[in-house]
Each structure stands twice: as C-alpha cells, then as structure tokens.
C-alpha cells in the first residue's frame, strides 16, 4: 500500500515545472493572451521536446504509454504556469477516445501524429457533459454530421476534432472538412481556446470499434480529472503569490502577512485546496487501476476543485489588495483560468448530480 508519487513521477513533474518556469513566464502568457494565440509555439515546442503530447499514447504509436496520474501531474503544472497551449483535449481526451473506440486504421492515422505534436485535436462533448444550450446538438447520419456544438476544447489550433453526437457516438472530423464552420468563442480565459463548430452535412469518421457509452464516459472522466488538476496547479500558484506578496507589502509599519486577518485567509486557502490533491491522485489512479470507481471519483474531483478553485481565486486576489485587481500584476490570468475550468465538462452542481446518479441516488 503506497499512496504517493514515485521518484520517476516527481522527477518528471519537476522537469515540466522547470521548463514551464522558463518558457511560460507571465510576459509570455500575456503576449499569447493579447494575440489570442491558441498554441504559443515556443511553449508548445518545449513541451513536445518533453514528449507531453504523446504522454498517454501507446509506445507502438510513438507515445510514452504513461498513465492518467502522470497526465494529472503535468496538467497541474500547466495550470500553475497558465500555459497557453492545448493539452486536456489534445493530449488526454482525444487520444483516450481514439485508443478506446478507434479502428486500427484510425489509430494508425491519428495517434502517431498526435504523439509527435505534429497535429492538435479538439474535443467537442459539451452537450454530453454539461448539457445542451443555445439549441446545440449534433446529428449523425450516413457518415455525415449536421447541427452545432459549443465549448469545443483546445479549439483554435486543432487539426482534427473528436465530436460527440446526440446519441453518444463519437466521430473524427478534419478541421478543413467541407461544410464545417468554426466560430471562436471569447471566454474570460485567454490562455485556453474554446469555440463552436457548425456542421452542414460534414464528412466524419465514426469511432465505432467498442462500447461507445463506456468510451465517452472514459473521455469525460479523464477530462474532468485534468481540469481539476489544472485548477490545483493554478490555485496553488495563486496561494504562493498571495503569501509572497503578503511578506513584501507593508502597511501600518508591518508586512501585511504578519496580520492574522491575512494569515488566516492564506491558511484557509491552503487547507481547503490541499485535500483536493489526494482526491485527484486517487481519481487518476482509479482511472487506470479501478475503472469502476473512476466516473464517481472524477465527478467528485471536478466538483471539489471547481468550488475550492473559486474560493482560492477570489481570496488570493483579495490578499493582493488593489494590486490584485489590476491588469498589471497579471494575477487575473489564474483567476480566469480557474473560472473557465470550473464551468467546462460540467459545473460543480452538474458533476455532483452525476455523482448522485452514479450511486443510484437519483430517482
């Protein structure tokens, strides 16, 4: 019985941390956000060097064949440095969808290219995870898709999309397919790219080799665990920044970090967020080793971190006082990253309803 990270996992997470510290500085993030770069090329290349896009892809397709816990450790670092690059959809959800439900030909066609970072994949399952709004929905018929889907993740830089239809089936659509209209959505978080896809009889290749329902659930669970981990990283960065700031900023002749009013806010943030790390580790471990538990644990991790994330984001901003409210300090990139992750793939209320349903508590 060992509930903790291996030495290899610690080293891997540390190397991603050191890389992102260099390449995903606040200045770089700001530049990417202002230019609405969906994939900050230099940051992306640094991650490709480390093998991040192929993390979960089998070695036979050129990936590293690692597990979801490893991906969660990287997601945490990407959140910590609000890295403006594709990951949750492209490196986690899409490879899992293709590996679980793809034919040998589909796997051969897409997994090596995703693993090498040559292409990026977006994932469109918002209507299947959060519910349909704005009359969104995709109908599949005769290998063609019609309708529209919102809140497509890793949208802007995607070369292919994994799209969920109204019946829970998944399809691969090329970004340049005829009849496909891409509409970028502007969210508060300019370090992540989301958008809308409109289909007018668009050619799609169905991911149909396997249990579609179970496959979609796996994709959703993995995505939820990644968003939770992203918030863990972003949240801790905000706490670290708040603590550092409170030790420098002086008022009434003292550093504000010596006032209990400020210390207690920091202690509350730390003690609320830290148990989330264990919940994420457990959910990610369950994904690979106790798959029956994964849907429930993913729903718990997502809702827990959604709520804690919101608390940390506002409280860390308050600790920074007026400076926290400015654009200059850039703290708002973390605030907004946490805000987006909370709503994607099911807000806390939605995820908790899923958790209740999974336990047979919804009549």
């Amino acid at each position: 019985m060992e509930f903790g990270l291996s030495e290899d996992q610690r080293l891997m997470q540390d190397s991603v941390r050191r890389t992102l510290e260099k390449v995903s500085s606040l200045d770089r993030v700001r530049k990417a956000a202002e230019a609405k770069e969906a994939k900050a090329t230099d940051v992306w290349h640094a991650l490709v060097e480390l093998g991040v896009p192929g993390l979960l892809i089998d070695e036979e397709f050129g990936g590293m064949g690692l597990q979801l816990l490893d991906a969660a450790l990287i997601a945490e670092m990407l959140g910590r440095f609000v890295a403006p690059v594709p990951f949750v959809a492209s490196a986690v959800m899409a490879p899992i969808a293709i590996a679980a439900l793809g034919s040998p030909t589909q796997k051969e066609a897409w997994l090596p290219k995703l693993a090498s970072g040559e292409i990026v994949a977006g994932v469109a399952i918002a209507e299947r995870s959060s519910g349909a709004r704005e009359s969104a929905g995709v109908t599949a018929s005769g290998g063609k898709l019609t309708g529209k889907t919102l809140f497509v993740m890793d949208f802007g830089a995607a070369d292919i999309f994994v799209v969920g239809d109204n019946k829970g089936g998944l399809h691969i659509v090329k970004a340049d397919a005829k009849g496909l209209t891409k509409v970028a959505l502007t969210s508060i978080d300019l370090t992540s790219s989301v958008g809308e896809l409109q289909f007018d009889n668009v050619e799609a290749s169905a991911l149909a080799s396997g249990d579609a329902k179970a496959g979609l659930q796996r994709v959703l669970d993995a995505g939820r665990i990644m968003l939770a981990a992203d918030t863990l990283g972003a949240g801790w960065m905000m706490i670290d920044k708040a603590v550092d700031y409170s030790k420098e900023r002086k008022q009434f002749g003292r550093v504000i970090g010596s006032f209990q009013a400020v210390k207690h806010l920091c202690a509350e943030m730390a003690s609320e967020i830290e148990p989330g790390r264990s919940l994420i580790w457990y959910a990610a471990y369950a994904f690979d080793h106790m798959p029956d538990e994964a849907p429930l644990m993913a729903a718990h991790a997502k809702s827990f971190m959604g709520d804690v994330g919101r608390f940390v984001a506002r409280t860390a901003t308050e600790v920074h006082g007026g400076m926290g409210f400015t654009d200059l300090l850039g703290l708002h990139y973390w605030f907004k990253r946490i805000g987006l992750a909370r709503q994607l793939l099911g807000s806390p209320e939605r995820a908790r309803n899923d958790a209740a349903r999974l336990q047979g508590w919804v009549a």
């Binding site: 019985m1 060992e2 509930f3 903790g4 990270l5 291996s6 816990l69 706490i239 603590v243 409170s246 030790k247 003292r254 550093v255 970090g257 010596s258 006032f259 209990q260 210390k263 207690h264 920091c266 202690a267 509350e268 730390a270 003690s271 609320e272 830290e274 148990p275 989330g276 790390r277 264990s278 919940l279 580790w281 457990y282 471990y285 080793h289 106790m290 644990m297 718990h300 809702s303 827990f304 709520d307 806390p348 209320e349 908790r352 309803n353 958790a355 209740a356 508590w361 919804v362 009549a363």
Partner: protein
C-alpha cells in the same frame, strides 16, 4: 501509487479477521464515560496479548512489543471497524500519557505506571487548561511551591474530562514563578485522591457534564512525581499535545458519519418523498461526500509519508481544522434534512437517533474550539506550513 496490500499484509489481515471471528462475542458493547467494568478490562487484556492494543509498547512495560508498522495498525483499525467491534481503550492515559512517559519518564516511572495504565487499572485525566489559560496555555498560573521534599499545589484546572473517575492526573504547574513563561512550568503526576483536590462537573451547552473543573488547595505532592526536568514541563507537554492533535479530525470517523446520513436520507421522508430525492439536500450530501473522500485519501497520503519517515509538512497541519469542520457540517446536514424533527432533544416523542445529531452538532463545536482552536490551527498552518511571519509581540504596559 499502489493501493494493494502485499501478501505479507493480506496474511496479517486474515489473522485479524480470524481473531475477530473467534473472539468478537466477548467484546464489550463499547466504552462509555464511566469507569471501565470487568468485561472491558478483560477485552483490553486480550487485545494486548494478541497485539491489537498497546501494539508497539515494549513488552517489559506491559505492551505487545511489536515493531512500529503503520500499515498493520491501519489494517487492525479497518478490520475492527468493519466488524463493528470496539478497539482497545483510547483513554487520555493510554493515548497521551503513556507515549509521553516512554519518551520522557524515568525507568522507575515507566515500570510503575505504564502497565496498569495499559490494562485500564489506572485511569488518568489531563490537567492543562485553566480558566485564564486556554489558547495561551503557557501562561498557566496553578502554582507549586517547594516545601521540603514536596511541592504544595494551589490553583484551578478546567476542561478536565474523566476527572471524576480518574485515579491519577498528569498536570502542568508553575514551579519557577520568576522564569520566562515557557521555562517555569513542570509536569507533575499525582493521585486524584490526594487531600485538597475538589472536582466539580462542568455542564456544557449539550446539557451533559462531559468535562470538569478541578480545584487544588494546598495539595502536597512529592518532588519525585515530576516527569522530565524541573522547568521543562512545557516541552514534556508538547510531546503529549502532538499525540492529541493526531486524534482529532479522524477522517474515518467522518466516513462513518457520512454513511449514517446516507442511510437517514434514504429512510426519512418529507411529504411522502425520500430526503435523498430532494435535489437541494442531495447536493449538500454529495458536496460533503467529496470532502470526506478527499480527507480519507489525504489520510492515506499521510500514512504513506509516515511509513517512509517523510515530513508531510503542511499536509499534516490541516487535518484537525478540516476534519472537525467536516464532522460539524455533516451533523448540520442531518439536522437540516430532518427539519423540525432535527431540533428534538432529550426524551422527546418523535426523537431521531436519540437526539445525537444535535448533540454532535454542539459537541463538535467544542472540538473545533478544543485541542487548539480553529484560529490557533490557522496560525500554525500559516506560520509553519506557509512560512508566514508570527504576530509581533505586544509590549507590556
């Protein structure tokens, strides 16, 4: 990460199960607040003989003498909980005084006190808090003045649970009135039957006297009854407080409470509809389930860190604050879900669960305050966990 137990541990688990199958019929129903009876003492002896209580206490002092193995301890706890069989006694004497004596006591003290304490023959109470010294415990004023080979003790203690049925007290007293506050305290142990001791029950908001006040008037205690050096009592006591903080906020207790509420929400109805079918209460239930699970996994993480002798740092410091708060919120949910029925108490008709949800809701508030208040916990978390500066000392007028 590997949540499986190795074959060695699975074999140990089988051993524990076998023991429980054979012996659980002789287990007492539970441990009340009164003095342990014959069946409790017999059960305690049986558990020690098999290594399920006093497991790592050396044999020479009446323990089982096993090497510390945190996983085996966990397996024992898991199996006893699953079988709903009470573990060994967890009195303040066993969980706080014995570890302190092992660390700081003289050989003679260990020989004299540990074995009968483990066996439940000597019951202890803790004399730390005073009316004027709660969070600032080191400011305590109960004084011990020298008189030949004895100390004469005068003063008052408060929040002394089990004082009425205790044989002995481990007590902090000021022996060096002129020394700085942390350096003037000594840790004394003496009989509760010593002349000059008066115990008064302290009724709390729950309506029960879970605690007592203890008054000392010219209580004569031989100087040999000191643990550790004179004036070093604060540091001796801190070894004990470390053991107490570990006992508060146990996530498995919250897990058991959560299961009770799940059960309650399936059985109780409102307008003919089960409470679990009410989306608002259900949302609160799942929200608390997330927090309980997070703390249970957090507990596994701390267990692994302990087994590897790693310092878990901040992760360990948050347990009391989080654990007590979650327990309190669980009780609040049960009360809210029961509506007006949730406020019934005492011996009222329509009472649910013997009124225990209200009792727990109130008593838990006591636990949030006791053993280091939530605010003191936050000071500790920010200072030791986040390296934030201490509050500047105010200058005395």
């Amino acid at each position: 990460m590997d949540l499986n137990y190795s074959p060695q541990y699975e074999a140990f688990r089988a051993e524990v199960r076998e023991f429980l199958k054979t012996h659980s019929k002789s287990a007492p129903g539970g441990f009340g607040v009164s003095r342990p009876g014959g069946n409790v003492l017999a059960w305690q002896k049986l558990l020690i003989a098999h290594g399920y209580a006093a497991r790592t206490i050396p044999k020479e002092y009446g323990g089982f003498g096993a090497e510390p193995d945190i996983l085996k301890s966990r397996i024992i706890a898991e199996e006893f909980a699953a079988a709903k069989v009470p573990m060994g006694m967890a009195s303040q004497g066993i969980s706080m005084f014995v570890p302190t004596l092992l660390e700081m006591g003289t050989e003679e003290q260990k020989q004299k006190y540990i074995k009968p304490t483990l066996n439940g023959e000597i019951i202890w109470c803790q004399g730390y808090s005073e009316p004027g010294s709660g969070s600032d415990l080191a400011s305590l004023q109960t004084k011990a003045t020298e008189d030949g080979d004895d100390f004469i003790i005068n003063g008052q203690k408060i929040w002394t649970s089990t004082a009425k049925q205790s044989d002995m007290i481990f007590c902090l007293v000021r022996t060096e009135p002129d020394a700085p506050k942390h350096e003037g305290i000594s840790y004394l142990i003496f009989s509760m039957k010593t002349p000059g001791i008066e115990v008064r029950p302290l009724v709390t908001m729950t309506g029960h006297a879970e605690f007592n006040e203890v008054f000392f008037t010219d209580v004569r205690v031989p100087k040999t009854q000191i643990v550790g050096a004179r004036g070093q009592g604060w540091f001796v006591a801190n070894a004990t407080l470390k053991h107490e903080r570990g006992m508060l906020g146990d996530p498995n207790q919250a897990g058991a409470r959560l299961r009770e509420i799940i059960d309650l929400m399936h059985k109780e109805t409102l307008d003919g509809e089960r409470l679990i079918d009410n989306p608002l209460f259900r949302d609160r239930l799942v929200q608390l389930q997330s927090r309980v699970l997070a703390m249970q996994f957090h507990g596994l993480r701390l267990l692994t860190a302990s087994a590897k002798k790693e310092d878990a740092g901040l992760a360990r410091l948050i347990v009391k604050l989080q654990g007590c708060e979650i327990n309190h919120q669980l009780a609040a949910l049960a009360i809210d879900a029961l509506g007006e029925l949730g406020v019934l108490y005492g011996d009222s008709p329509h009472l649910r669960a013997y009124g225990s949800w209200q009792h727990r809701y109130m008593f838990d508030l006591g636990l949030i305050i006791g053993g280091g208040t939530a605010q003191i916990q936050k000071n500790i978390i920010s200072e030791r966990g986040l390296n934030m500066p201490r509050e500047p000392k105010t200058v005395k007028a």
